[in-house]
Amino acid sequence: MNKPQELERNVVVHRRRKNGGAPVKKKGQSQRIDGPHGSGYLSTRSLVKSYYKGKIEIPVLRGVDLNVVQGEFTTIVGQSGSGKSTLLHLLGVLDAPDSGEVYFDGQQIDNLPASARELLRNRTFGMIFQFYHLLPELTTLENVLAPCMIRESVWGYWRRRRQYKQRAEALLERVGLSHRLRHRPSELSGGEMQRAAIARALIQSPQLLLADEPTGNLDETTGQEIFSLLKSLNTEQQLTIVMVTHDRRIACQTDRVVQLVEGRVVENPSS
């Protein structure tokens, strides 16, 4: 996504289609939609996603309109099974919606070709999961370096290995894990694994961090620590973060809370 012309072209194409007369569907409550496809940094329009169990349709998202402002720390809450993870996967272009669009930085991203989506996931988005999802065969340091390795050829990585390693070590230092560089994930505690996962998500200097219940598997204090880490990243580096959580107390401490109810978004739920 480092080609501005391409970005521009996509935007133009989209505008033309919008101007072509398709009526803008207004769904649900008042949404902060300014401009043709939202003023948000990351926004979705009428996202619909269903799963199919044989012939039976299980609707999960029934038209989600969401706007995330740049630099904001947004939390998504909702009942278990309400589709939070599904929404996050759509935002992270890991999955494609049945209908509706996802925009990032003014550009539609859900219909990009596979290679462009891969690049987006690698460079622009960072992802954190409830179960950490570190690769068990690699050490902490190697896990953090994995996104760099994925994007680089053997030769390219070899040339820049020092630079990458320094950055990875600095990040691990930042998340407080500099004493666990050579440990395998199986030798780490849950909190340490999540810190390593955060460092991995940050290694390519992403513009957006997507976190799916990062504290869900941790005790209260450790969860609070991890959240503080994310919060400090948000405040210090103005990193945009979208986080799914069950924890109301954590959710309250973020800029904005969004609730998923019956496949739709409810802003600022009165808890």
Partner: protein, 522 residues
């Protein structure tokens, strides 16, 4: 980059995959051993067949042969030009060999081959198979004093004289005893005595050139008998196939031993048909050497005598012109010359309709044997490659398990931006490395086995107490092996391909995994 790293880590942490590759290793090792041994047998057999035979045999119909070999040789030289390395005329007839073993006569049948000592060595490696060093240098049908291969019991003139002296002493003692007995009984003493050893010997009449009636010669020989001194003279020489003259067996101590029915210096009688109206003639020959090609079939069949003598005995020399006949012309070509093309040229010069000669290459002469070996090799190769293919399914199953086990990691890699092709590459590289390791180790084991195969056979023999490789059966002292780099290369390539093909399906499955579903996988 991550592909190599992950692949390496998977290799190092998943030994189950190595177990699945062991079948490939064993298959490769077996293929190499079997091919080396079969190649060894084939090459050894080719050597023995071809070195013992000439390249092309030019044969007249029947035992009468065709006249004027010199003209034929000249024509063949013209046809083949520079390709020709050696050429010789021979007479081949079926014969019975009558050996006297411990006073009893023993009959064996085989082929009597009349050869020209000078030129016969140019068409085959015949001289190499003789057991006297000087004969190997230069064949002579004259008996040597001694110096035969030390596997043989004492042989040569020295043995002949000693034997005859002993025999005569014995006879004289018997006669003396008889004389004393008769004297005691008062019977008249009237016995013909043997000539004393020091009696001067009348030289054998020089061979009369020209037509000789074999029966006349036979009578002549009978007439000469009383002047033929075994102590100083020999009959025409014969080089006897060692299989005719000996018997190989395994002694109580499991050592392979030979018993010799006769040895160089002994006389044997050979009967064979004459040309024309076939009649059987028999003549005495003195064994001057043994022929040991290690081709059991040859060694049990062939006996070589001087060509001119055989021609004379069989009446193959035209009484009017003095032109001899032969039954075969043997031809040796330079290495690398196309035998079939040469054969065709000869057929062009001597059209079968007109001349009726049969011209065959040594491969055609030994066709069934060579084809049988070839077929065995092919069959074994197919069977063994099937084993590797079966091993391929083992790899397939193991890899599928590994992919299933790694499902979540594949999802993680994709969520970090890895492409489907990248994920596929991990597993293909994994299969490739395992294939390389498996076939590499297999090649190593196979080659080691081949190099030490005789030691291993000896060890097995020692452990089981039964002969693994019996020289009395194969006529080889050792298991012959040839390592063909080309064959080894093919086997390696084939097994690596099997490993790759077997990893393609699992790798494709890994590549196709949907990232979200892979991440949800427990």
């Amino acid at each position: 980059m991550y592909k190599l790293l992950l692949c390496w880590r998977y290799l190092r942490t998943r030994y189950i995959a190595l177990a699945s590759i062991i079948s490939v290793t064993l298959g490769v090792a077996t293929l190499i051993v079997v091919n080396s041994v079969m190649d060894g047998f084939t090459v050894e057999m080719h050597h023995r067949l071809n070195d013992g035979l000439s390249d092309i045999v030019f044969e007249g119909r029947g035992l009468n042969g065709f006249p004027d070999p010199e003209w034929h040789k000249e024509e063949i030289r013209k046809v083949l030009g520079d390709d020709l390395k050696g050429i010789t005329a021979t007479v081949v007839v079926p014969a019975m060999f009558n050996l006297t073993v411990q006073g009893e006569s023993m009959m064996q049948h085989g082929s009597l081959i009349g050869i020209d000592p000078q030129s016969y060595g140019t068409v085959s490696d015949f001289p190499q198979y003789l057991l006297h060093a000087e004969n190997r240098e230069r064949l002579s049908f004259a008996l040597r004093d001694e110096g035969y291969d030390n596997r043989l019991p004492p042989s040569g003139w020295n043995w002949r004289r000693k034997r005859i002296t002993l025999e005569r002493d014995y006879l004289r003692q018997m006669q003396e005893a008889e004389r004393l007995r008769r004297e005691a009984l008062g019977e008249p003493v009237a016995m013909n005595t043997l000539p004393a050893a020091e009696t001067p010997v009348t030289e054998a009449a020089p061979e009369t050139a020209g037509p000789i009636d074999p029966f006349q010669r036979k009578r002549q020989a009978a007439a000469e008998e009383h002047v033929f001194d075994e102590m100083k003279q020999q009959h025409p020489g014969v080089v006897l196939g060692i299989g005719i003259a000996s018997h190989r067996y395994r002694g109580a101590d499991k050592e392979v031993k030979d018993i010799f029915y006769c040895r160089p210096g002994d006389d044997i009688q050979i009967s064979f048909p004459t040309a024309g109206q076939p009649q059987i003639v028999a003549d005495n020959f003195t064994v001057v050497d043994f022929y040991e090609s290690k081709m059991s079939e040859y060694d049990h069949t062939f006996a070589f005598v001087p060509l001119d003598h055989l021609q004379e005995m069989r009446g193959m020399v035209d009484p009017l012109t003095g032109v001899p006949s032969v039954t075969q012309i043997q031809i040796r070509l330079h290495d690398g010359v196309d035998l079939e093309a040469a054969q065709q040229k000869l057929y062009d010069r001597f059209p079968p309709q007109q001349f009726g000669y049969s011209i065959r290459t040594w491969q055609q002469l030994q066709g069934p044997l060579l084809q049988a070996v070839q077929m065995e090799t092919t069959l074994l190769n197919i069977l063994l490659f099937l084993i590797i293919a079966v091993a391929g399914f083992g790899i397939l199953a193991t890899f599928f398990m590994i992919v299933v086990e790694k499902t979540r990691d594949i999802g993680v890699l994709k969520s970090l931006g890895a492409s489907s092709r990248g994920v596929m590459t991990i597993f293909l590289t994994y299969g490739f490395s395992l294939g390389i390791v498996g076939s590499g180790v297999g090649i190593l084991i196979g080659l080691l086995f081949v190099v030490y195969i005789n030691t291993i056979a000896a060890g097995l023999e020692w452990v089981t107490g039964r002969p693994v490789f019996d020289p009395t059966v194969y006529y080889f002292q050792q298991i012959p092996t040839v390592i063909e780099p080309f064959t080894v290369g093919w086997i390696a390539l084939g097994s690596v391909c099997v490993a790759i093909v077997a990893s393609v399906l699992p790798a494709l499955r890994a590549a196709r995994l949907h990232p979200v579903e892979a991440l949800r996988y427990e």
